[in-house]
Symmetry: C2
Subunit: 614 residues, 2 copies
Amino acid sequence: MFSFIRRLLIGQPLNNKDIAHEQLPKWKALSIFSSDALSSVAYGPEQAMVILVATPGLISYGYLGPIAGAIFCLLLIVALSYAQVAKANPAGGGAYAIAKKNLGEMPALVAAASVFADYILTAAVSVSAGTDAIISAFPQLSGIQVNLDLFVLFFVLMLVNLRGIREASNAFVFPTYAFLFGITALIVTGVFKAFTYHQAIIPAVSMETKPLDWVMLFIVLRAFANGCSSMTGIEAIADSVPLFKKPEGHNAVATTYWMAGILGFMVLGISFLMMHYHVIPLPNITALSQLAEHVFGRGLLYYYIQISTMIVLYLAANTAYNGLPILLSIVAKDGYMPRYLSARGERLTYSNNIILLTLAAACLIIIYNGDIVHLISLYAIGVFLSFTIAQVSMVIHWHRERQKGWIIRAIINGTGALVTGIVVLIITATKFFQGAWIIIIFIPVMTFVFKKIRHHYNDVAEQLSLSQRCLGKRARGQKARNLAIVPIASPTNVVAETLDYAESISDTVIALYIVTDEEAGRKIKEKWADWDPGIQLVTVNSPYRFVIQPIIDFIGELQMQRCDYDYITVIIPEFETKKWWHRLLHGQTGWILRTLLIFREDVIVATIPYHLKK
Amino acid sequence: MFSFIRRLLIGQPLNNKDIAHEQLPKWKALSIFSSDALSSVAYGPEQAMVILVATPGLISYGYLGPIAGAIFCLLLIVALSYAQVAKANPAGGGAYAIAKKNLGEMPALVAAASVFADYILTAAVSVSAGTDAIISAFPQLSGIQVNLDLFVLFFVLMLVNLRGIREASNAFVFPTYAFLFGITALIVTGVFKAFTYHQAIIPAVSMETKPLDWVMLFIVLRAFANGCSSMTGIEAIADSVPLFKKPEGHNAVATTYWMAGILGFMVLGISFLMMHYHVIPLPNITALSQLAEHVFGRGLLYYYIQISTMIVLYLAANTAYNGLPILLSIVAKDGYMPRYLSARGERLTYSNNIILLTLAAACLIIIYNGDIVHLISLYAIGVFLSFTIAQVSMVIHWHRERQKGWIIRAIINGTGALVTGIVVLIITATKFFQGAWIIIIFIPVMTFVFKKIRHHYNDVAEQLSLSQRCLGKRARGQKARNLAIVPIASPTNVVAETLDYAESISDTVIALYIVTDEEAGRKIKEKWADWDPGIQLVTVNSPYRFVIQPIIDFIGELQMQRCDYDYITVIIPEFETKKWWHRLLHGQTGWILRTLLIFREDVIVATIPYHLKK
């Protein structure tokens, strides 16, 4: 039954041979890898604006223009840097891989922890923003916002990704271009209307600023920090170079530029429209929704924009599902996370990792009640920290290779590192108390956990290595000697069978009976003598009626004394009952004994299943 | 730590030799065995009165006198019958034992089920009534009634009884006599005041009755049924004859008469006082508390009566703890309940049974919110049903023995059986919809469960018996042949050790490797060839990356083919990690494999513990 539902939901198991090696053309790659970056314009400029209008009495709306400009410049620098990353790493690999190659273990782990944090936040923020988009269009849904978020997480994203990546990737193409078309239409129409409008292009109220004193500077930087969330996802192409058609590097670089160009156009366009229409935050209505309504009215185009925004945002959440499970599997393969996380599930996906990501994102959504404003406070630190580490790695890379023109390349990446590093500091400083501290704690803690796990695996590997001692022991060719102990409760069929087996594995067999009641003990001894199975019955008195402890003590004493036995095997019959409730009628002594004996060294526990027929 | 708290609460384990064989004098036995019966006057007459005044408009208070008289007569008959039970069964034993001897299995099981139900109700009713007594004196406690009940159940009754019976039994003597003294003083003073009072001894309003039509008859019979709860516990002496000083039978009979006499005096006295003062039910104040206040005022004697009533009621609950665990152990020893319930715990008490009783009584108290009126609806059916079965058994007993004067004895017990049988019918008929149906369902269901359990044990015994076949097989003297399979993940120290062991128990050893990844499979084969441990490595391809199923399938195929092996032993290394969290870093494949293999017949699973040192 469970198996049937599982098959229905995630499909039949897939053969190793079915792993796809896709070769994407640029137009397809652009839609697949840019859904995260492009969709973030749906919340990025708005989150900058929210900060600027949040403090009453401090007029600062006019700073939105410069902030959009700063983000645009930052975007160009980062795109240029990442184009270099794509060119230099034809094998792909994110900040973790690049840092590991060029900077060493610690920076790589910090990068991995940062990217983990931000993938989880990408899923949480994008799903919440997608739901916000649809709630703006249909306010009657606002009561079930968190439920909608969780439904999309568990029943759309998790299930689709458990089924496997290929079904998902084709689904990307149409919605991303649909979104692109919608936003472009919005910006072009909006700008056209603005310029043909009879009043000022940007109303005076949108241009008002207070002088940039310290308080103002803090607010502007925080708005900038929030706005930087528009740039999350820009690294996706450089991480996935091998999926491009040949020549991979060249195509990836071109696609990066295209994406950055489109993203820059959107950021500037939307920021301009926000200033032109002087958009301010309204409950349950996103800034994009307000713009679409201003430009198109509540007509077909308005709904087209809201719905395509929702879909592309949900797809952006899927970027986390494409990225985190694979990164987690790489980190696990390197021994920094539990190794079994590196194994593909039955549908060739990293099912455990997909479930982990879903649970983590669901926790964040539940804790923050699906509220973008709060989630954004945690966001983007990880992204920019991993940008910085990746760019520093590239500087080292160029320095090592010293190919022709390496100095210019190093300067480009160095500038990228410097700028993104400054952004990390700005985000940390301005959003620390709003939630950024959580990430500031999470990253070193996670790094520490990585190190501890790797340390344990190293220890284990050392202990398990086929050392000389072992080879020597086996080379002797001498057969190890084995002592078998069979604890019995009374002479039965099962005991006879167990003794049979004990004699087959060992020359010395001891039947052990714990006497908890003298009367019963006498009877058992008599029965044993009558039966005479040719095996010694050892009895141990237990006046306090404990059964398990005396067996363990007896074995302990044997271990102290034995000279000529290499192993002690305790053989325990285990009853398999016909009906589940019959199990309740049998004591659990065997099971408890087994569990406790496992804690002793050099004692092997053999379980003989005995199936009751009725 | 856990062990320390356990020792602190229930004490050191006790040796088998410490089982006490007490010989109680009559004055001590009376206090120990009659706390249940005597204390029930604290709620019995009141519960009869509650019914009589419950129906508005139907004046029926005057029937309280006849009802008290009827209960008194019933008490005399039952006491006479039970005196005979005590005389004829010097070994003691309750209705279950007597019925088993004289009537056979089914009546005995019905008796056991009845007594189970009523012991649990005794605990629940007595604890609730004890708390009611103290709340009557201190009404400010009324908010925490159920909490008080549960505290007494778990932290007084359960703990004291887990520690052991001897500590408990001496604690009985003083409170029972204190209660006896208090109630006697109350009755004597009250009656004296009534007779020296200048008005009528019983006010006219207490004598009013409507004619006994069908409706009235039903109410009066229901009041009588409720009042019969005063008689619960009267069988305690006959059940425990061996604990008396010699001559046991004679002393037990004398004590039974004494108890019945005192109980009868109390029932009549309290009923008379209730009519004299025309007591009616008040919330949170018991009838006994009202009487004590009328007779003594709210002085020292009032509080003395309330507190001694509370203590003796809690002790009455303890009667269930003295009775049910032993009865349960006898029934379990006979195979009608899980056998391990017949084993004494470390303090020589039947600890599991004590905990079971506590949980069951706690459930009842929580479900009925500690409300006596509701609990009483379930009560007394079991008691009177077991009375009836015991008396019928005695009739059969006398008929079988045919000693001198057996006809008179048979008539006495026959009358007892008839009268108590009628009471069972009255209780069932008048309280069926109020809760009695629960008991009417519980008793046959429990009887069915007893039979099913016994049936299973019979089946098991038959399957386990040392049949001729087995003796024959062992007699051959031929050693069984064993095939060892070692599933491996990669050649390590642990594998080397495991193979060592495998070779010590079997001539044929197969190392089994499941190839989930062709690349990795090739490497393992090369490593194996390099190492060359002299053991065949069998590889099985698993393109769907399942690990456990191919191992099980491989074993299944071997079982189909094998001709010359008696057993297949699968040897699984199990890692014992140094720190708990390390365990999370290792897959659970070994554990799952073991669990699944146990379900196959003729496959033995041997676990080799491997202790990681760091």
